[in-house]
């Protein structure tokens, strides 16, 4: 095709190419094959994302579905007569006497007034068990804050027992045979009667956010675990951020490059991969047994979690320091800034976004840690809200673990509700990391 159309050309001259090799038929086939491969690759990527998203949606959806009911709690409206004689106190009783008075009697009397035909002792006990065992304490608190209630009658909403709550929410079904049901037919009849009186209502479950743990599901709350988590996390942040940043700055800027430093770097990277329960064992052996620190306290928990998150903070901080362009360092050094001034005034501020992101991600990781904290004793059943770093406490993930272990049906939905609270915290922390990072980057 080339020389045929050009007679007279000498054989030694370069033969001009008539067609570029990129426009031949074979090239066309290669192009179509490549485009098909790219389409397949793109589709595979989209499929992977879809599967991942699908899992996330299923996970979140199932947790929300299971846990949403825990945010409401059945209450019963009873007419409580604060009768001094029923309480067993005089009209001018002291606060101490009032605190010791017989408040369950008030509840029993209110129920008896509504259902006067209940006479059998067992039946009377069943009737009283419709109301939570914490209800009398609610009455005591009310009277303690308002003495004028003594002698008066009020229509009050009291927390119902967890079995009643489960029945009202449909988790205990009346179709189940009576032998397998936790509520016998008489109790169901009473609940129906109260419902037709409009004395049964599902209200917002404030206990979940105000109280500590309890064996009674309707009284169980997350506040103790939340405070424990807050104390632990704050102390962990205060310990791990300065230590991690200082270590990273030293290793990256000041340490002489030598074989010893390579060993240190390898060890730090390996520590980031150590299972967290090992840190719990370390905390048990060193902090609790050797240093005699109080078991199950936020102090020991934060020490253990600091050790665990330190490698993460160090690695993220070193990467952030390395990303600062050397032209800034050269400019600062060339102006007569010392190495320390260069790092403090120029390198650190520029690497702060990366350091903060790494730290907050490390904190989010620490928030969800259970295994090491079980090792240091946070598995105990604690009712009180921790007041300080040295008092026994528990954290949210451990609380979830304990509730997941409990047999009562009502704890199943509360476990999912606690998981939702934990996830909200985690999402909030990660969002804060993103916002902080954007804010710092925009300023420069």
């Amino acid at each position: 095709m080339s020389s045929a159309g050009r007679p007279g050309r000498s054989a030694s001259a370069l033969e001009p190419r008539a067609r570029s090799p990129h426009r031949s038929a074979a090239a066309g086939a290669r192009l179509r094959r490549r485009q098909r491969t790219e389409r397949v690759f793109r589709a595979a990527g989209q499929l992977a994302i879809a599967i991942g998203l699908g899992f996330v949606i299923v996970l979140f959806g199932s947790i929300v579905y299971q846990g949403k009911d825990a945010f409401t709690q059945t209450h019963l409206r009873l007419d409580i007569h604060f009768d001094p004689s029923a309480l067993g106190v005089g009209a001018s009783a002291t606060d101490a006497e009032l605190a010791q008075a017989d408040y369950p009697a008030l509840v029993r009397n209110a129920l008896a007034a509504r259902f006067p035909d209940v006479s059998d002792r067992k039946d009377r006990r069943d009737l009283a068990s419709l109301v939570s065992t914490g209800a009398p304490f609610e009455l005591a608190d009310m009277l303690a804050s308002d003495r004028s209630l003594l002698g008066q009658t009020r229509s009050l909403w009291l927390t119902a027992d967890d079995d009643v709550d489960m029945f009202v929410k449909g988790k205990i079904r009346r179709e189940t045979p009576a032998a397998e049901r936790r509520l016998n037919d008489r109790k169901i009849a009473w609940i129906d009667a109260l419902t037709s009186d409009q004395r049964v209502e599902r209200q917002f479950n404030a206990q979940l956010f105000e109280s500590g743990d309890s064996r009674e599901p309707e009284l169980a709350g997350l506040w103790g675990a939340v405070m424990g988590s807050v104390y632990t996390l704050l102390t962990t942040l205060l310990l791990s951020f300065p230590l991690g940043v200082a270590t990273a700055v030293y290793l990256e800027e000041f340490a002489p490059k030598s074989r010893w430093m390579d060993i240190v770097e390898v060890n730090i990277n390996n520590l980031a991969a150590v299972p967290s329960i090992v840190f719990g064992l370390l905390g048990l052996a060193v902090f609790i047994n050797f240093f005699d620190l109080p078991r199950s306290s936020p102090l020991v928990a934060s020490l253990v979690l600091t050790l665990m998150t330190l490698p993460t903070v160090i690695i993220a901080s070193r990467a952030a320091l390395r990303s600062v362009p050397s032209s800034i360092r050269q400019a600062a050094l060339g102006m007569g800034a010392s190495k320390f001034q260069t790092v403090l005034h120029h390198v650190l501020p520029l690497s702060m976004p990366g350091m903060l992101t790494g730290t907050i991600v490390g904190m989010a990781h620490a928030l969800g840690e259970t295994a090491p904290l079980l090792m240091i004793g946070m598995v105990a059943f604690l009712v009180d809200i921790p007041g300080g770093l040295m008092e026994p406490a528990t954290v949210l993930p451990v609380q979830i673990y304990l509730w997941a272990d409990s047999p009562e049906k009502a704890f199943a939905e509360r476990t999912s509700a606690a998981i939702i609270v934990l996830l909200v915290f985690l999402i909030a922390m990660n969002s804060m990391a993103v916002i902080l990072r954007q804010r710092f980057e925009r300023r420069w």
Partner: protein, 300 residues
């Protein structure tokens, strides 16, 4: 503004008085062109009458690789000396020796002596921080700090304790920016970030930053190579204005620029100082064959 003159031979005559050496030390300027191998001794006049910087047998090693071979050179006070040569010939390496920036490079070893005003800056107990305040540097790519223009210029004086009050700082910033020819353009936006300026303005900001610490010497490592011709012309004019107060050593790839701004020129080749002399003489009558080849553009 100086007219851009492409003819290296028409460069302004040097005003530097060359010291009269004893006859046996003087190299012949009219000798025939020598062979193309690098000489053991530098041709031309390495000494200067009133030397601000004196270097003797300076060598630099990067690990085992040698980058500079026994460079001896004087840089006179208030003169502009241009260091020219092909890529990788060691001129930037030599420049960085003068403010000991080579110390920041791993594995870099410097031998020889460098005296700035009779003080040997290669002494191990020298305070490098103070040296770098006396010998400022402007880099090839403008690198203002990611701070405001005001803070860029004020940073050096603050850390060296040159200013105490805000009014002193204001005055120093204004003076430095005016000397760098930038004040009129930025006086309304001193708090704007320095990185928001154009390339030429950024480089002049870097120069303002360097002179704010009141150095004696300014080292410039190809300051105009990243700038357009108009910005280049402004910076070259600035160099000429600065000459009255500072000693300037400028590394440049452009022979035309060397001819425009400098009074003396030093030609480096493969780590050796081949020839040095008044700019006009170097470009009009280069002695060594390598210098001739470079000037006429046969390589480099």
């Amino acid at each position: 503004m100086q007219m851009m003159n492409m003819d290296p031979i028409a460069a302004p005559k040097s005003e530097l008085a060359v010291e009269h050496e004893p006859p046996h030390e003087r190299h012949s300027h009219r000798a025939p062109k020598l062979s193309a191998s690098t000489p053991e001794q530098t041709l031309g006049e390495i000494h200067a009458a009133d030397a601000a910087i004196v270097s003797r047998t300076v060598s630099v090693y990067y690990g085992t690789k040698r980058a500079l071979y026994d460079v001896s050179l004087d840089i006179g006070r208030n003169e502009v000396i241009a260091l020219i040569g092909p890529s990788g010939c060691g001129k930037s390496t030599y420049l960085r020796c003068l403010n000991r920036m080579n110390d920041t490079i791993e594995g870099c070893r410097v031998t020889g002596d460098i005296f700035i005003d009779d003080q040997n800056i290669r002494a191990p107990d020298l305070d490098v921080v103070q040296l770098r305040a006396r010998v400022g540097m402007v880099f090839q790519k403008p690198n203002p700090f990611p701070k405001s223009i005001y803070d860029n210029v004020a940073y050096g004086p603050r850390i060296h304790g040159l200013v105490r009050t805000k009014s002193e700082t204001d005055e120093l910033v204004e003076r430095s920016l005016t000397r760098a020819g930038l004040f009129d353009e930025v006086k309304d936006r001193l708090l704007a970030p320095g990185t928001g300026l154009s390339g030429g303005q950024q480089q002049r900001l870097c120069i303002a930053r360097a002179i704010a610490v009141e150095p004696e010497v300014i080292l410039m490592d190809e300051p105009c190579s990243a700038l357009d011709p108009i910005a280049t012309a402004k910076v070259e004019q600035l160099i000429d204005d600065l000459r009255a107060n500072y000693t300037i050593a400028i590394v440049t790839h452009s022979m035309q620029q060397a001819a425009r701004v400098s009074q003396r020129t030093a030609y480096f080749h493969l780590g050796r100082l081949v020839e040095v002399g008044p700019t006009r003489e170097i470009f009009k009558n280069p002695v060594h064959q390598l210098t001739v080849d470079y000037i006429t553009g046969r390589f480099g």
